[in-house]
Structures are given as structure tokens and as C-alpha cells.
Amino acid sequence: MTMEEMKNEAETNSMVSMTLYAVMYPVFNELERINLSAAQTLRAAFIKAEKENPGLTQDIIMKILEKKNVEINFTESLLRMAADDVEEYMIERQEQEFKDLNEKARALKQILSKIPDEINDRVRFLQTIKDIASAIKELLDTVNNVFKKYQYQNRRALEHQKKEFVKYSKSFSDTLKTYFKDGKAINVFISANRLIHQTNLILQTFKTVA
């Protein structure tokens, strides 16, 4: 793997860029209704800046919050906002398998984003975990269905992304085990954010390759 490839891989997997699409994209969408040109310019600028400097968007947001003396838990807020569809990642193909992929990915992200609301009630949180488990399984089954049905030349990229998703799913499970021991919810939020990011990357990969 070349240095460029390594950088790209690190970049795409980096969760810091999640702030760009989870926080800023909805802002740009709102802005487009007011000033389309300005919104599009800003969007392009942020995308370019984030690509060259991963984490820049998050730094800017944090500074704005600091300036405004807004005290929020950024990780928790990010998780709550992360359920929205990211248009750039939605697969446009009309075949049922791809529609299912979009749907299952959306379902998983929505359940994960509910964690902050459920985590303090053990019974409800356990039910949420079961829902997450089912959603993960359904997403992976849908990915498998696409694999079965379609032969891709760049199948390796898809396999790799699926493997990464499984890895972060397991990491999420391990984080939950630790949480039930130490009670530190923030780690669960971080892990959930990572899993949402991986879900988006699966969609992005299929969109690129398919």
C-alpha cells in the first residue's frame, strides 16, 4: 500500500470527519434555502479543507461552542445528530438489494443515535442493545445478499469495508461490556459514533463500487 493509499484509508476511517457530514451538512442544507450559492461554496470549501486536514471541522465547531459558552457533551450531541441520512452516501440504484441497504443502514443509525436517551434506564437500554443487534445482523445480511447477487471487480474493497464494520461492531460489544462494569457512558457514545461512521462508509463503498 502506498503512502497515499494509507493516508486515504486513515482519512476515510477517521471518525473526526464525521462532524462534517453529521453537523455541517444539515447546516449547509438549511443555508441553501436562503443563499444557494453561498451554501454551495461553503460546502465545497469545508469538504476540501477537511480532506486536507482531517478533524478541522470538529475543531472549528468546538471553538464556536467555546466562544458562545455553550456547554454540551459534543460526543453525545454528535451521536444524536448522526442518524440523519447523508445524501452523499445514499446509494441511488433502484434494485431492491440496494434499497434494502439504504434502509437497513438508516435503521441501524437511528437506533444507535437513541442510546443517550436509553442508557440510563437499564431495562430500556438492554432492549435497545437487542434492537441494535438485530439491526446489525440485518445490515450484514443485506450486504451478504448483494455479494451473492452481484459480482464486482473491486470486490476486495467491499469485503474490506464489511470486515471493518464487523470489527467496529465487535468493538462496540466490548465497549458495552466495559460500560456495565465501569458505568462510563461516554465510551459507549464514542463507540456508537464509530459504528455509525462505519455504516456510512459501507454505503459509500457500495456507492462507489456498485
Binding site: 442493545i129 443487534a133 450484514l140 466495559t178
Partner: protein
């Protein structure tokens, strides 16, 4: 004056009745005192108020004892009994007391100790330590507290004894319409039956404490099983289906094809041939088996690393733990299970093969048991006292970790339920499991070669 005389106690004169009565009372008090001073101290811990919180590690790795009175156990109780319905429960208890199924007056004879852990509720006699009964946690359906005047009852609704078939309810006054049950051949109404364990404690505080402790146990078990469910879902989804038959007879498309797994990952290894051999069909000779790893095909790459790794791991362990002959037997059993024999038979035979000192090896089979048989398999593991961090009690509480930092974690509670498997797993558990994750392919390969040398086959 007479009254004054009457009122004055004359020294030296004691009513004979009082003398006998008080002497008896004093004697009994003295005996009770002696008894309580002779009794061993309970294994208990201080609990955080107000909800009597206890460190989960204590319930997982240790146990806590409380003093109770054991009134008895009612069996064949209708399964629809609501244990928090005071009227229904007291009616049941009253009838049981009348028919002497439950103790009437409470004396020291009913004194008992309830030992509570995340695995079971154990009742023993206070003085003799004789075991009265043991109820696995998964057999407890509900717990309730009912106060009847001065009596503080804690009731555990549990499964009827394992293996018993539904029997006619003994409480006809509580039976619902026949549509709720089924008719036996004799025409008697059969309803799903359960048991009711009846305990009495000193006061409301003790009852609430016991109930809250059990509640925490349930929470631990439910949490563990939820995490286990999550792990299973991830594993099931991670395996990529292939076009070939799966290992399992239910042909679940989500299960890995073991043949391809090992051809992909083990190279020279011919798993399917070895399985089918089990003594019955030819095993590829060394000359026909490629000496070098097969080049990976497109279908090979479909296989999940997770599944292949797990298979490899298990094989590796078997290699280190079983003799060649035992590996052959394992292959035969696996082959039979694959071809339709019951999970029960598979478990029993494997247990026999592994013996007591190696029964922990059964744990490694968990990922390969299909969903339809997984419950039976888990129950079987528990009955033989095998637990680890991924079973009914998993490592959500750090009790078992696959890292070097927690090599001291034990897989059992203080009651030592798992026996020999503790010694096998406790030291360097991470290494043990890692070995479990890498050797099985070589085992079966060795099996195949061994069988070839023996000249078995059609």
C-alpha cells in the same frame, strides 16, 4: 390488710407452675443461645442502601448468604399463578399448610440459609448444612414478597422439575377454563405447571433485601444474555454464505461452510474428507493432497475472517488437548451431528469424550452450534458446570477477558460449581483461548492422515 398481704411477695416461695414453666423457658432460651453461638457466621457483605446494591463481582465470582426459614416447596402449581397476587398465593399456601405440604408453625427446624449467586439459589439447613435444593437462576420465573400478619413470605416461582411433563394441577380452585390447558388421555385438565418455593424471613427489611438481591441477579443474567445475543448477531452476520451446503443440517445460509473455511485458511487441509471419513470413506492420501496451500479463489475470499479464525482456533486447541484417536472420535461425532443426530446426543457424546478435565473444550463449539440448537447447548453447558465469559454469564463485568491483564479471572463462583475447568481456564486464559483459535485444522488434518495410514475407507 389482707390485700396488702396478698400483694407482698413472700420470699422463698415460688409457684410450682412457675418453677417448671420458667425452668423450661430458661432451658429453651439457653439452648437457643447455645445454638446461635454454635452456628457458623454467614458469608455476607454490606449492601449499599437504599436499594441494597451489591458489587456484581460478588454475585459472579462469590456468593452471599442470608438466613431464612424454609417452609417448603409446592410443585404442580398452575403456571399462570401470579406470584404477586396476594389472594391467590395465600389461598395456595393455606391449603398447603392444611394438607401439611408446608410447615405450619415456624420453629428452628425450618431454619435455613439461602446462598445467592449469579448462577443459582441454594438452600441448606442452617445447622446441618444439608442441601435442601438448588435452583438455577434461569429456572426462576418470578420472585415476590407477601406479608401475612407477622409472617414475611418470600416466594420464588420456578420451573417445574426438568424432564417432568405437565401434570394435573393440584389447585383446582385456581384452575382456569379447559381452553387454557390440554386434556390428558384420562380427560384431566393439564396445565403448564411450575413450583413455588416458600421462604419466610424475619421482617419486611429482610424480605426487601432478598428480593432486591435477586433482582440484581436477574439484571446480571439478563445483561449477559443480551450481550451474548449481540455477539451472536455480529457473528452470524459476519459469515458470508456460499453456494455449498453448510455444516449444519438446517442449511442455514448464514452459517459458514466449514469445508471452504479450511480450504481457504488451512491450505493443505481437507476437512470435509476427514469428516466424511469418520471411518467410513476414503481420506485423500498425502500424495493426492496438495502439499502447499491452495491458491485462494474468489469464493475463498467470500468467507468471513471471523468464522474462519474461530474454526482455526478451536481446531488448534483440540490438537493440543486430544489424542489422535480422540480426534477421530470427535470427527465422527461431528459428522453424525451434521447428518442429523440430535444436539442432545452430540453434547452427551462429546462430554463423554472430553471427560471432566477437558469439558471446557465444549465452550469452543459455541459459535458453530446453529441457532435452533443453541438454547439446548447453553443449558447443557450449565448443567455440566461449564461457564465462561461468553455463555449465559459472559464477560460483561470483566470476569473473563482475553487479555493478559486479567489472567486471574475465574470462570466460576465461590461455590466452585465448575470444578476442574477452573484450573484449566484460569491461568493465562488469553493464551488458552488463543490456542483454541488456531489448531483445529491441523487436528483434522492429522486425523485425515492418521486415517489414511490406517487404511480406512470403502
Amino acid at each position: 390488710m389482707e390485700d396488702d398481704v396478698k400483694k407482698v411477695k413472700k420470699p422463698g416461695l415460688v409457684s410450682p407452675f412457675k418453677r417448671v414453666f420458667l425452668k423450661g423457658e430458661k432451658g429453651r432460651d439457653k439452648k437457643a443461645q447455645e445454638k446461635s453461638s454454635e452456628r457458623r457466621a454467614l458469608h455476607t457483605f454490606s449492601l449499599s442502601l437504599p436499594d441494597h446494591r451489591i458489587d456484581p463481582d460478588i454475585l459472579l465470582n462469590d456468593y452471599i448468604e442470608k438466613e431464612v426459614k424454609y417452609l417448603g416447596q409446592l410443585t404442580s402449581v398452575p403456571g399462570y399463578l401470579n406470584p404477586s397476587s396476594r389472594t391467590d398465593v395465600l389461598q395456595l399456601i393455606d391449603n398447603a399448610r392444611k394438607s401439611h405440604q408446608l410447615a405450619g408453625n415456624l420453629t428452628s427446624e425450618q431454619d435455613a440459609v439461602v446462598s445467592l449467586s449469579a448462577y443459582n439459589v441454594k438452600l441448606t439447613r442452617r445447622d446441618t448444612e444439608d442441601i435442601i435444593l438448588r435452583v438455577p437462576i434461569h429456572d426462576i420465573a418470578a420472585v415476590s414478597y407477601i406479608r401475612d400478619d407477622s409472617l414475611h413470605l418470600v416466594l420464588l416461582k420456578t420451573a417445574q422439575e426438568v424432564g417432568s411433563s405437565p401434570c394435573p394441577s393440584t389447585c383446582m380452585e385456581l384452575s382456569k377454563s379447559a381452553t387454557m390447558g390440554s386434556l390428558s388421555e384420562s380427560g384431566a385438565v393439564l396445565v403448564e405447571a411450575c413450583s413455588l418455593l416458600v421462604l419466610a424471613v424475619d421482617n419486611k427489611g429482610a424480605a426487601e433485601e432478598l428480593c432486591l438481591l435477586l433482582s440484581q441477579v436477574f439484571q446480571i443474567v439478563y445483561t449477559e444474555s443480551t450481550i451474548d445475543f449481540l455477539d451472536r448477531a455480529i457473528f452470524d452476520g459476519a459469515t458470508t454464505p456460499t453456494r455449498h451446503h453448510s455444516l449444519y443440517s438446517d442449511d442455514s445460509s448464514s452459517k459458514v461452510d466449514v469445508k471452504e473455511a479450511f480450504e481457504a485458511e488451512a491450505g493443505t487441509f481437507s476437512f470435509q474428507s476427514s469428516l466424511e471419513a469418520g471411518g467410513h470413506s476414503p481420506c485423500p492420501s498425502p500424495s493426492s493432497t496438495p502439499a502447499s496451500p491452495q491458491p485462494k479463489t474468489a469464493s475463498d475470499s467470500e468467507l468471513s475472517t471471523t468464522a474462519a479464525e474461530l474454526l482455526q482456533d478451536y481446531m488448534t486447541t483440540l490438537r493440543t488437548k486430544l489424542s489422535s484417536q480422540e480426534i477421530q472420535q470427535f470427527a465422527t461425532l461431528l459428522h453424525e451431528y451434521r447428518n442429523g443426530s440430535s444436539i442432545h446426543e452430540f453434547c452427551i457424546n462429546l462430554r463423554q469424550l472430553y471427560g471432566d478435565s477437558r469439558k471446557f473444550l465444549l465452550l469452543g463449539l459455541r459459535p458453530f452450534i446453529p441457532e435452533k440448537d443453541s438454547q439446548h447447548f447453553e443449558n447443557f453447558l450449565e448443567t455440566i458446570g461449564v461457564k465462561d465469559g461468553r455463555g449465559i454469564i459472559t464477560d460483561s463485568f470483566g470476569r473473563y477477558r482475553r487479555t493478559a491483564s486479567s489472567a486471574s479471572d475465574s470462570t466460576t463462583n465461590g461455590n466452585g460449581a465448575a470444578g476442574g475447568s477452573d484450573e484449566a481456564l484460569a491461568p493465562s486464559e488469553g493464551d488458552e483461548w488463543d490456542r483454541m483459535i488456531s489448531d483445529i485444522s491441523n487436528d483434522i488434518e492429522a486425523l485425515g492422515c492418521h486415517m489414511d495410514q490406517d487404511g480406512t475407507g470403502p
